[in-house]
């Protein structure tokens, strides 16, 4: 760890560097390389704690990670500066891409290429559930909860917000940590 905590400006530039290095993917790995290895702002352990918090709380993981890094040094203002550094360039690029899309998407050639890209993107979306399925494989209650959530949304068209508000508290009650003596805990 450095003696001197990074200033707002350094936070912004650091996150900007992470965002620019990660063009092409691997945002999390770049963020570790730059924040932990190059700049020494956080120890590896602090960084991993940050990943845990970022995954646990609502919001996109990588952006939550930037918020964690910023908040560690300057609270809310640090979080906002770090987030701005992370998002400014990629988001502006995406907005320009969006403007180009809405201006030209009626061209048949553009539509044809996009039809292909959409098929690949749909495959990526389909893989998301399978990616985390492994960790629940040995917990029948978890699989039941997942199946009930899926059925409610897919076949009964229940929307996300009521699903989370109803199933969330039920699942939390079931998984509430009990004393070690009580059986049935995974």
């Amino acid at each position: 760890m450095n003696e001197q905590p990074p200033s707002h400006r350094e936070l912004f530039i650091g996150m900007l560097q992470v965002a620019l290095s990660a063009f092409g993917g691997g945002l999390s790995a770049w963020s570790q390389r730059i924040v932990v290895e190059q700049r020494g702002w956080l120890s590896n352990e602090e960084f991993l704690t940050g990943l845990t918090v970022a995954r646990l709380f609502p919001g996109p993981n990588q952006i939550n990670m930037a918020v964690y890094i910023g908040a560690a040094f300057h609270g809310l203002s640090g979080a906002l500066v770090a987030m701005a550094g992370m998002l400014l360039v990629p988001f502006t690029l995406l907005m320009l891409l969006g403007v180009a899309y809405f201006s030209f998407h009626t061209l048949p050639a553009v539509d044809r290429v996009l039809a292909g890209v959409v098929a690949a993107a749909a495959g990526m979306a389909l893989s998301m559930g399978f990616k985390i399925l492994d960790q629940y494989w040995k917990d029948p209650v978890a699989l039941l909860l997942a199946a009930a959530t899926f059925v409610a949304m897919e076949f009964f068209h229940v929307r996300l917000v009521p699903v989370v508000l109803i199933a969330g508290p039920l699942a939390m009650a079931w998984y509430w940590p009990r004393t070690p003596r009580s059986p049935g805990q995974p």
């Binding site: 646990l56 908040a71 809310l76 907005m95 403007v99 098929a119 690949a120 559930g129 985390i132």
Partner: protein, 238 residues
């Protein structure tokens, strides 16, 4: 029956046939109909879904309010919100046609940076009829709206993490919401596949990409580049 609603019905029937039976004949028909009807698609979509009539400012506030309210429900890194985004922008507020939504999702996945920036594109699309400057304002606003509540909660969590770490609430929240996230992600995958609505070749590509995403560490950019090429050559269409 108007021409546009006729076209919509015809297209829905044909594309459903193409996906279900996957016969070569149906695929060819779908290709022809799609090509012929391409300029009418947006008209058909707006005929299906009637947007609420609001002033420009009212429209912007609708966008901001919608995403502010959803922010805290983005579990599992935000991907759980995708089918809700689809419902809101295609069926509830009629900002986009289903294929436009699929296109924007693909753009957000392909572009550098976190894929959750899709919300900015949705905001852009919502205000596109009001001109590019309003659309950009709406896009930046939508992204800020979806990030603000979760960021505030995240800052609070960071500052009190030492107390939260061993709290039973934290443990129950983490363990309990995991399985729900799992269920939602499967529903999201199927919803996106439906919305993509490609021909049989496209569905095969989707399934292959899904398996490769799970079994290999190849960058997804390659999959999108190759699939885009297949689309350009006309192998994949919708």
């Amino acid at each position: 029956m108007t021409l546009s609603s006729l076209l919509t019905t015809a297209m829905a029937t044909v594309s459903a046939t193409a996906t279900v039976t996957a016969t070569a004949a149906a695929t060819v028909t779908a290709a022809t109909v799609t090509a012929a009807a391409a300029p009418a698609v947006s008209a058909a979509a707006s005929a299906q879904c009637t947007p609420t009539s609001l002033t420009d400012l009212g429209h912007l506030l609708q966008v901001l309010g919608t995403f502010l309210g959803l922010s805290l429900f983005s579990l599992g890194g935000g991907n759980t919100l995708l089918s809700e985004y689809q419902h809101i922008s295609v069926h509830q507020f009629c900002w986009l046609s289903p294929s436009q939504f699929a296109n924007l999702y693909a753009l957000a996945e392909a572009a550098p940076g976190p894929s959750s920036m899709l919300v900015g594109l949705l905001g852009l699309g919502a205000a596109w009829p009001e001109g590019p400057w309003w659309a950009l304002l709406s896009g930046y606003g939508a992204e800020l709206a979806i990030l603000l509540p979760s960021t505030l909660l995240m800052v609070a969590a960071c500052l009190s993490w030492n107390r939260l770490r061993n709290s039973p609430w934290r443990i129950a929240f983490e363990r309990g919401l995991g399985p729900i996230t799992l269920g939602i992600l499967f529903e999201v995958g199927i919803k996106i596949l439906h919305t993509a609505d490609t021909n049989a070749a496209g569905v095969v590509v989707s399934l292959v990409v899904c398996v490769l995403m799970l079994r290999t560490r190849i960058s997804p950019l390659w999959f999108m580049a190759i699939a885009g090429l297949l689309g350009g050559l006309g192998v994949i269409n919708r």
